[in-house]
């Protein structure tokens, strides 16, 4: 009997035998329920049942929507491109498999887990219906949008993976398109209305945004045309991505001889990246004498240039907005928002770059060759830190200096308000500390994790997400336990408390990672990969080799 979509049926059988399939679903339900209890308790004092129900519904569905959006870039965006890099995609096409077999097989193989995780949240979303404030049909619409968004995100990931070879390119394209659709389309519509001084924003054009679809699923904003229009567009785009990927894939797996034009372009690109032979030799000579690994990590001269380009574009956008709305752009709040956006982007950039050298070289075996030389581990680590400094150092210094200027301007505007100063002080301090922690922890996780992207995710979770989680947990705990209000924190205390949490977490992970890097670098680097590294519950605070 011929099986329709043989890879799909195989992947479903494999997933059904995996314990993780069930545990991840259970774990997600527990997390969602924990978040539910947390929000419910934190609002216990000052909200009615229906208000709490609405808030719970909004928070949990918002988190689920974010998860559905991120899933594509995180899960499917490298699934086909990785096979291209490893040269294994061709083996599939040497069999009778068709493009759609591979595309759907990959979709199922990589997305079952995320689908189950999302579905596990749905029962929690239904609880607010019993609390009042949320209508059953509202839950139905939100569930529909969440499933549709997950499908869109995964399908776009598959599509961009099928046209890419480089993992970062595939992820950046997937994330970029999703970001554009979700936030960019509404922002363009709003910008268009503001630019032409229209009284209302053209909502009909926003149906191209899954974010708008999610927004209109809520009863207060629900309009059938907008909701179903957005849903239909996203669903259509998802299928279109899969169909196009199915057609493309059988034609892109083979290594093709480059045309003369292609070769010329490749050479030009190489010269851009590494310089001419003379430039390469001069650059190599100066850096190798300092530290061999320094040159190894810093030889791609486009990397720092791309960061400068990003900062330049951000500056140009800010300046354009300033020319258009001069008064608004000089508001202290705009300074804060600008700093938060730029700092967050740079932090994510460092988190994605720091694990790259060790992770990539460990996978290729090149790290082992390096370790067969007399280069000491501290020397290797120093070289990588120097390379990271070369990539990010001046950019971060310039951003920091600009933010100091913005802080001064904002303080003048706010008459040197102490609370405002504290906000800037905490933000800038944590910016620098986070960068250091991300760099060091990134190197350690690059060495341990199975892939560079997994390492980046683990680093972001520990340095950028964990402090917020702890902060809100403590705040909720204080709120609930401090019945007579004797321990209540004002905003300044809360900021200092957040700073303290951030410093403690960063110090812990930085010191532990550095200690482990120095002591266990050779041991870990010569293993294939550490199976214990990953999204573990019990090993979170124990970044040790096993």
């Amino acid at each position: 009997m011929v099986t329709l979509l043989p890879i799909v049926s195989r992947e479903l059988r494999v997933a059904s035998r995996k314990r993780m399939t069930y545990w991840s679903r259970f774990g997600t339900a527990i997390i969602a329920f924990g978040a539910f209890i947390w929000v419910w308790l934190s609002m216990a004092r000052h909200a009615t049942n229906s208000q709490r129900g609405m808030m719970l519904f909004s928070v949990i569905s918002g988190a689920a929507f974010l998860f559905a959006l991120i899933a594509g870039a995180a899960i499917t965006a490298d699934c086909i491109s990785e096979e291209k890099r490893d040269g294994t995609l061709g083996l599939l096409f040497l069999t009778d498999l068709r493009g759609y077999d591979v595309v759907f097989g990959k979709l199922f193989a990589t997305s079952i887990d995320s689908f189950y995780r999302l579905v596990a949240v749905f029962p929690i979303l239904a609880i607010p219906v019993m609390m009042g404030g949320v209508a059953p049909e509202e839950v139905g619409r939100v569930v529909l949008v969440l499933l549709n968004t997950l499908f869109l995100s995964l399908c776009l990931g598959i599509f961009f993976s099928s046209i890419s070879r480089d993992d970062r390119r595939a992820r950046a394209l997937t994330g970029g398109v999703l970001l554009f659709l979700t936030l960019g389309v509404p922002a363009l519509c709003a910008g268009y209305a503001a630019y032409y001084e229209l009284r209302t924003v053209t909502l009909d054009l926003m149906i191209f945004s899954p974010g708008f679809g999610f927004f209109t699923a809520f009863t207060g904003f629900y309009k059938p045309n907008h909701f179903w229009g957005s849903l239909l567009f996203c669903h259509g785009l998802s299928w279109a991505s899969l169909i196009v990927a199915s057609f493309i894939l059988p034609h892109v797996w083979q290594d093709k001889a480059k045309s003369k034009k292609g070769e010329k372009l490749q050479k030009t690109w190489d010269v851009w990246r590494h310089g001419t032979s003379e430039q390469r030799a001069a650059f190599r000579s100066s850096l190798l004498d300092t530290n061999a690994v320094y040159w190894l990590g810093a030889r791609d001269r486009l990397k720092p240039a791309v960061i400068w380009l990003f900062l330049g574009l951000a500056g140009a956008l800010w300046f354009w907005l300033f020319v258009r709305w001069p008064d608004d752009m000089l508001e202290p709040e705009i300074y804060v928002m600008t700093a938060v956006i730029i700092n967050t982007c740079l932090k994510f950039w460092v988190a994605s770059e720091a694990p790259r050298l060790f992770g990539r070289d460990k996978k290729s075996g090149a790290l082992e060759l390096l370790l067969s030389t007399p280069m000491s581990v501290p020397s290797i680590l120093r070289g990588q830190l120097l390379a990271l400094w070369r990539h990010f150092g001046w950019q971060i210094t310039v951003v920091f200096a600009l933010e100091l200027l913005m802080m001064t301007a904002a303080l003048v505007e706010e008459n040197f308000d102490g609370e405002f100063f504290l906000l800037w002080f905490v933000g800038l301090t944590m910016f620098l500390l986070d960068i250091v922690a991300l760099a060091v922890l990134g190197m350690w996780h690059g060495l341990r994790a199975k892939t560079v992207n997994a390492a980046s995710g683990q680093v972001v979770a520990r340095i950028l997400i964990l402090p917020w989680f702890l902060f809100f947990s403590f705040i909720t705990f204080f709120e609930l336990s401090d019945l007579d209000r004797s321990l209540s924190m004002d905003e300044e205390e809360a900021m200092l408390f957040w700073l303290a949490i951030g410093i403690c977490i960063n110090a812990y992970f930085t010191i532990m990672s550095w200690r482990n890097l120095v002591a266990k670098f050779r041991e870990i680097a010569t293993q294939r990969f550490d199976k214990s590294a990953g999204w573990r519950w019990f090993g979170w605070f124990r970044p040790k080799a096993q």
Partner: protein, 318 residues
């Protein structure tokens, strides 16, 4: 860093070397001596423990028990010194495909702390030695497998090590590339390097190596000259005789001789087993000629390394 070397110690010496991976024993009590200037073949089935031994010698793995020394330096206690005096080539390329050949070697030369004033010359010298001078500006990703393997060898030689540990250096190479690789290794031996080479291509090791070790399931079965293992295999000397006409007459003549243990027909020839290694085989021709048999050929049987390997091992893998 100049490493002190005692001229009286062998190139490599292991003492009861063992390595366990969980419940699996990869290496069990391996005691081995490799003399200076040896081109030493390391033979074994997949999973026999060859790579584990080489990785211990290259300081990547620490032995579970026992110890190993390279030119008198302990691979655990004195790992830094060992890294200066060995060149290790693993069974994978581990190259940076977007680097130029010269960049790659320049980088490793810097890792070995070769001063920048000497690096260009060193790189040019090793490229010439492995025959890659013409490819010095090429991207590594654009090189053929054979060229990449030569580049790996050039990397190993960049700091002029005294001991080379080569894990399957000829695997996956075409016949010409293999022959060229073997020629380079012979040249290196001539230059005084001690080379340990693990390989599955036994016919080449047979002509290339002066000494071999055979291991199976982590245990040493034989270590010594190639001829020695052949001698161990053969209880007596075997000769082959071809004659004109009926070979049975020759067999009858030879069977009656006290120095002949056995004579039989095989593949249209006469296979003669002498009773002792000490016996002079000259009597064979004399006996046959006197008996009126016309001899068309007479030669000594020589066991190939592949045959020896098959005989001494049981084909067990782990």
């Amino acid at each position: 860093m100049a490493v002190e070397i005692n001229p009286s110690v062998p190139a490599i010496q292991t003492y009861e070397l063992s390595r366990h991976y969980g419940a699996m024993t990869a290496l069990s009590g391996l005691s081995l001596t490799v003399n200076r200037g040896d081109l030493f073949g390391f033979i074994g089935s997949n999973g026999a423990g060859k790579t584990t031994t080489l990785r211990i010698l290259a300081t990547f793995l620490t032995p579970s028990t026992g110890r190993a020394e390279v030119l008198g330096h302990d691979v655990v206690k004195d790992a830094d010194a060992v890294r200066h005096i060995i060149g290790y080539m693993p069974d994978f390329f581990g190259v940076y495909k977007d680097m130029e050949v010269t960049e790659y070697l320049d980088f490793f030369a810097a890792c070995y702390k070769i001063p920048s004033t000497q690096r260009d010359k060193t790189v040019a010298d090793v490229l010439e030695l492995v025959g890659l001078t013409e490819k010095k500006g090429a991207l590594i990703g654009a090189l053929s497998r054979g060229m990449q393997q030569r580049l790996g060898l050039a990397r190993v030689l960049i700091h002029d090590p005294q001991v080379l540990l080569l894990d399957e250096p000829a695997s996956g190479l075409d016949p010409r590339a293999r022959i060229e690789m073997m020629a380079i290794l012979q040249e290196l031996q001539r230059l005084g390097k001690t080379i340990i080479i693990s390989s599955h291509i036994l016919s080449e090791l047979q002509t290339l190596c002066n000494r071999v070790a055979i291991i199976e399931r982590g245990k040493l079965i034989y270590a010594g000259p190639v001829q020695g293992v052949r001698d161990q295999m053969e209880s007596g000397q075997i000769y082959w005789v071809t004659v004109q006409g009926d070979p049975h007459k020759a067999i009858e003549l030879l069977k009656g001789h006290p120095e002949v243990a056995a004579a039989e027909q095989a593949d249209g020839q006469v296979k003669v087993t002498l009773a002792s290694h000490e016996t002079d085989p000259g009597f064979l021709a004399e006996t046959l000629v006197r008996g009126g048999v016309r001899i068309t050929g007479l030669w000594e049987n020589e066991l190939g390394l592949e045959e020896v390997f098959l005989r001494v091992t049981k084909g067990e893998t782990q």
